[in-house]
Symmetry: C2
Subunit: 297 residues, 2 copies
């Protein structure tokens, strides 16, 4: 029997989309424009990769999707906030994302900044809320700490700063790896470990999943870089090659397309090897790893 | 024996300043400019009112300052992040704050946005870290939730949105009160309750402190509005009357200066009445309430 990834992803996406709609403040409530701006970016069609990884992380240690839904939403909110702020005129200055106007083009810069702030804040609110059906209440503090580490100066924000500072410069492969590990891989990795920790995973299980998550996160970013070179507007919703135009540090720019594809494939193999001790319960993570490698957008 | 507020404030400020220096990432670490930007705004000279309220909240229920220091720092970080983002060109567009250049004037807009993001993230990291000497580990999740509520859409960010949307408009006193309660009072209130909750305060004690904190927070904002009218550049470090120039909704603009002073004084009296059941242990909060009313900057 093979794992049916499409059914799995569709079911999880439906669950996550309903939960996101529920946890985001209503457009009927004051301040209406803030809530609209938050919902506009979060509820845009998307893969919901990070929330699905939270769920898969929980399932890998025997937990249920429903028991980590709040935290799954939290990771999507952090992802959405980072995109809103990255797109701002002072940062990447992008008008479109996946074919839709960026947040500040619709709601203005002030509202986009505040919507991002509010999403980051709500994310931690949701993790703290994730107390139902929890084997160990102390897991909440551990997950808040881990997610904050992955999203902060030694994680996503740190990676974004080095990315911006490297634009147009000839940086070394050390810097490229720093950016990839911090800007993208950290949040992918913590999505998996947050789910596993909340679902009561043991220290060794969580450490195994952390290693797999790190390899998966790096693979994800390399594939992103490849898609930026190969993709087109219809598939990615942004101008292909925008990283190249901005002289961003990317994997293909340093190692070429073919070597990049080999490296991504190698990292996905590594991800799966790390997961071997977990047996069949890690099948969703393995399938997600294939999805990360094979996706076209 | 009277409570010596000056010695109390000096001792707490010294403790908080040392802790802030310790919890902020070093300027020797990558990304250097991000860490510099974070430290520039947080370590600027200040009253440290919110951290001192966290400590006073803990002391009011028999806790020690040292046991809530991480969370005390967290509240100062949230305050600092909100000022950095409020000062941005897309928001209030201020070049100076308390006589120093604002964050984006020194580090640029992109770094100021990211420094704010990083401070908000680190704040939740610190609360999660506040596990030493904690009577009940589940208090962490409660405090993360309460602080997120006070800082998010139904708190500080919501207040800031309505404040921006009200500029130059003739809004009613309902809107004015919404802005005050959300933009400022919520964070003042939660500073007190976070300290009390972490230090093991009972539900009734925390509820009492919450009511006192709400009154204190409203008084604080009214005094702020009064100082904006009466203050001068030397004392406040910003052009006096800047709220008036921006046609911000302020208490004196609606009720006049004298009525504003009476209202602030009345709210401080209310704060103290709420605190009566707590007896002598709430003396630091009472003294801080007097400080809020009598401050000149």
């Amino acid at each position: 029997m093979t794992f049916d990834l499409k059914s799995y992803l569709d079911a999880r996406r439906t669950l996550v989309d309903a939960a996101l709609d529920r946890v985001l403040p209503s457009e009927d409530l004051v301040p209406v424009n803030l809530h609209r701006a938050m919902r506009y970016s979060v509820l845009a069609p998307g893969k919901r990769l990070r929330p699905t990884l939270v769920i898969a992380g929980a399932e890998a240690v025997g937990g249920a999707a429903e028991s980590v839904l709040d935290t799954a939403c939290a990771l999507e909110l952090i992802h959405a906030y980072s995109l809103i702020h990255d797109d701002l005129p002072a940062m990447d200055d992008d008008d479109y994302r996946r074919g839709r106007l960026t947040n500040h083009k619709v709601f203005g810069e002030a509202m986009a900044i505040l919507a991002g702030d509010a999403l980051l804040t709500l994310a931690f609110r949701l993790i703290a809320n994730n107390t139902a059906r929890l084997p160990d209440p102390r897991a909440i503090a551990r997950v808040v700490a881990e997610v904050a580490d992955a999203a902060g100066t030694d994680g996503m924000v740190g990676g974004q700063v080095v990315d911006i500072e490297s634009e147009g410069k000839d940086v070394g492969t050390d810097t490229l790896e720093y950016i990839h590990r911090h800007k993208t891989a950290a949040l992918i990795r913590v999505s998996l470990t947050a789910g596993a920790t909340l679902a009561g995973g043991g220290a060794e299980q969580v450490a195994t999943i952390r290693r797999a998550g790190e390899a998966l996160g790096l693979a994800f970013q390399i594939v992103d870089d490849i898609l930026d070179v190969e993709g087109n507007l219809a598939e990615l919703g942004k101008t292909a090659g925008s990283d190249v135009r901005k002289k961003k540090a990317t994997y293909p720019a340093y190692h070429g397309l073919e070597a990049s594809k080999r490296q991504a494939s190698m990292l996905i193999g590594e991800t799966k090897r790390y997961l071997e001790p977990l047996g069949p319960s890690a099948e969703p993570i393995r399938a997600l790893a294939d999805f990360v490698l094979e996706r076209r957008s």
